[in-house]
């Protein structure tokens, strides 16, 4: 049983309320943090090796140390709770069941960064969770954790919840800031980065919910102890929201030392695939990361066992690997159609493109239409190459990473499942009633033996 740092108390009855949370040792990290200097807290977080849990995996301590600190200018911490990546629902769980953990993490982080006013930007669809958070903030306020001169330290802190209006793009940090300022949620052109010019043109740090929650165990146990959990540069624990064709979908806290195979098939985690079906493919880190066929998912191109951590999941680059992403683990069994799956994702990105820059605005719709054409048995061989060319021209050429996020799933699907696309084109009638099936996607990979 892996060590749990975030969800260890998640099942205590009434943990959502302040009394129970406090009784279970909550807000200890705030008391401890106030005995440290802000610089020491940042140092602890750096030492912990914590990486951003929102998807990009950027070292949190480093991000914090980049924050500009000009005299007389306020600084802000913003929590990105606009969790909209299809397949990802870990932040929802954290906020819904242990809201005080996020608040506690935010108090510590705000103290470390010198932010006297911080915000939780939550997606509009999580309407009831915003209420839960506001209740929890009220409780924390009544008990002296938020407000003026907290615990007599002289630190003033206010925390607000801001509801989004339901746009995926507002999960991009600069679009989030724009939206928080009351404007249309269009990503800003970087540089300047938020660390220099963020919310209301002031230095700002935007962190994911899980990242801020992880600050609590880091302060409680110490950065060094935290860094010993996990492996290599994948330290600490990570929440995985597992879904798709598995027996036990849900949120799992892993310490990044288990293999992908164990994660899918062991009873402790996903519990295998229902109805005796076989594994065909998996999107290991939320909808925008590359999809992998079963064989490359379980073993890397070098023939090693693939593990559930940042390095191993991205081993082989995009040619044979994927990404840890946000931890939205989507499993597809042999009855799933990759073309259909890719079309669904393309439809999502088309719908969510903000329309600010041309490649994403026009390209996402184009990709969706071509995929729909192939899916409905009207595709031609040249469409597959065209899709490849479109995604190639979107990737890297847009203002924000949403362009890449829209291009990668299409690229990976063609890269690994090209024969399934070709089968759709060659069997325009059959593809409407039958699936391509598993075929060779789980066959062992031939590893070239080097002398």
């Amino acid at each position: 049983m892996a060590k749990k740092l975030l969800l260890d108390k998640a099942h205590v009855p009434g943990i959502r309320s302040y009394e129970v949370y406090r009784k279970e040792g909550g807000y200890r990290s705030v008391e401890k943090a106030f005995r440290l200097t802000p610089a020491e807290i940042v140092e602890e977080v750096k030492l912990s090796g914590l990486r951003g849990r929102g998807g990009a995996g950027f070292p949190t301590g480093m991000k914090w140390s980049f924050l500009a600190k000009p005299e007389g200018v306020p600084r802000y911490l913003v929590c990105n709770a606009d969790e909209s990546e299809p397949g990802t629902f870990k932040d929802r769980y954290l906020m819904e069941f242990i809201p005080h953990l996020l608040i506690e993490g935010m108090i510590v982080a705000s103290f470390a960064l010198g932010s006297n006013v911080s915000y939780i930007y939550i997606r509009g669809e999580y309407a009831w969770i915003a209420d839960i958070l506001e209740n929890a903030i009220d409780e924390a306020k009544q008990n002296g954790w938020i407000g003026k001169n907290i615990l007599g330290t002289g630190f003033n802190f206010e925390l607000y919840v801001q509801r989004g209006a339901g746009a995926y793009i507002c999960g991009e940090e600069t679009a989030l800031i724009e939206s928080l300022e009351g404007k249309r949620g269009n990503p800003r052109i970087k540089p300047p980065f938020p660390a220099v010019k963020g919310l209301w043109d002031c230095p700002t740090v935007v962190n994911n919910v899980e990242t801020l929650a992880a600050v609590v165990p880091i302060i409680n146990e110490g950065g060094e102890a935290y860094s010993k959990i996990g492996v290599g540069k994948s330290t600490g624990t990570k929440l995985i929201s597992a879904c798709g064709n598995i027996n036990k979908p849900g949120i799992y806290e892993i310490d990044m030392t288990i293999s992908v195979e164990d994660f899918i098939f062991s009873d402790e985690y996903c519990g295998g695939i229902p109805n005796g079906k076989r594994l065909k493919a998996c999107i290991p880190g939320g909808s925008s990361v590359p999809i992998l066929p079963a064989n490359l998912l379980l073993t890397t191109a070098k023939g090693e066992k693939r593990m559930m951590n940042y390095e191993s999941l991205s081993d082989g680059g995009f040619a044979t690997g994927s990404m840890m992403g946000s931890g939205g683990f989507i499993v597809l069994d042999e009855d799933q159609c990759i073309v259909r799956n890719t079309m669904t994702l393309a439809r999502f990105y088309h719908h969510e493109s903000c329309g600010q820059c041309s490649p994403c605005r026009e390209g996402t719709g184009w990709m969706e239409r071509i995929l729909k054409k192939i899916e409905s048995g009207k595709g031609e061989m040249k469409d597959i190459d065209l899709l490849w060319d479109i995604q190639r021209k979107i990737e890297g050429n847009t203002i924000c990473p949403l362009g890449d996020a829209a291009a990668w799933p299409v690229a990976a699907a063609i890269r690994h499942f090209r024969d399934e696309f070709e089968w759709h084109v060659q069997n325009p009638e059959k593809c409407l009633t039958e699936n391509f099936g598993l075929r060779h996607y789980a066959d062992p990979i031939h590893v070239a033996v080097t002398a």
């Binding site: 052109i189 493109s353 041309s358 719709g365 050429n397």
Partner: protein
Amino acid sequence: MADEIKTFKVTIDNITIDVPAGTTVLNAARQIGGDVAPPAMCYYSKLQGSGGKCRTCLVEVAAGSTADPRPMPKLVASCRTTVMDGMIVKNITSEKVKDARAGVVEFLLLNHPLDCPICDQAGECHLQDLGYEHGKEGTRYEFPRRTFEKEDIGPYIQLHMTRCILCYRCTYVADQLTDKRVHGILDRGEHAEISTYISKAVDNEFSGNMIDVCPVGALTDKTFRFKNRVWFTKPVDAHRSCNTPSCCGNTTLWLRGEEVFRVTARKDEWGEVKSYDGKPGWICNTCRFDKKKTSDWTIEGVTKLNRHSVISQGKYEGLVMPKETIQEVMGGREPKLLMNIHDESEVNNPKIHLSEINGPAHSENFEN
């Protein structure tokens, strides 16, 4: 030393120049000029915050600076990237840039109706120029294009959203030139549209400048719509003393004979309004829409055009004559000239070049 401006050395397509710190790569390239300057559809130097959106000006940064000579991993929007000392930029010398730019042009034309034959912007359209210079002959898009209903924005401007490439320039005009913002973007993705929120009219003395900043035919002058093709009209520089505060009064009149077909702000070689004393030469709606007689204006002379191939052709300067093929198909035989109309006509004297007459051509000009 008082206020010495720091200069940076930047190399663009193997040409090195010194520019003041804070200059963008695009503006540095424009100082070099010619093909080195990347095309820009959304950037407008006179509109704060514009740029970065269309992605046509993407360039490759082969070396970030002398201090940090690493190349930038992605192509960058040259209009929003400031130069660093020792930066090496590749524009037309980079295959990556050419490839990406062709992609962007294709994307921009994807939902564009290509109704140039009935579009008032034809001939001075930046998208036409862009497509001509960087685009492919055909499109690979085979689906229906998105369409919108035409919409009136106030009494003078018509919005034809179907043609819009969402450069956002007009919204910046609305924000920065007009007192109250009533113009914005609705919806998102390819269905996003510029709008005035329930067709609320933009009644501001400077709203007409939206037409000038629009790179395509999405915003057109209702007093000029379908009146003439731009290349049949003769542009002359003119001015009048305008009472509207902050209107520069310097315009280009587009004439046909004595008739003023339309009035626009004067444009520079990048298609942007010219500046006077460091201030952009925006013009007010009175100058633009109400002063349609040559007697309202003091005409200075024929406008020098250095952009837009089509209207430049209409001005007869640098005219490229079509290749004479009769000789070829007639087996080397010269065509026999029966009559030269110019020699017969008393009006159209070939010794007087129409384009060189300052102002409208009158019959007096042809009296020998």
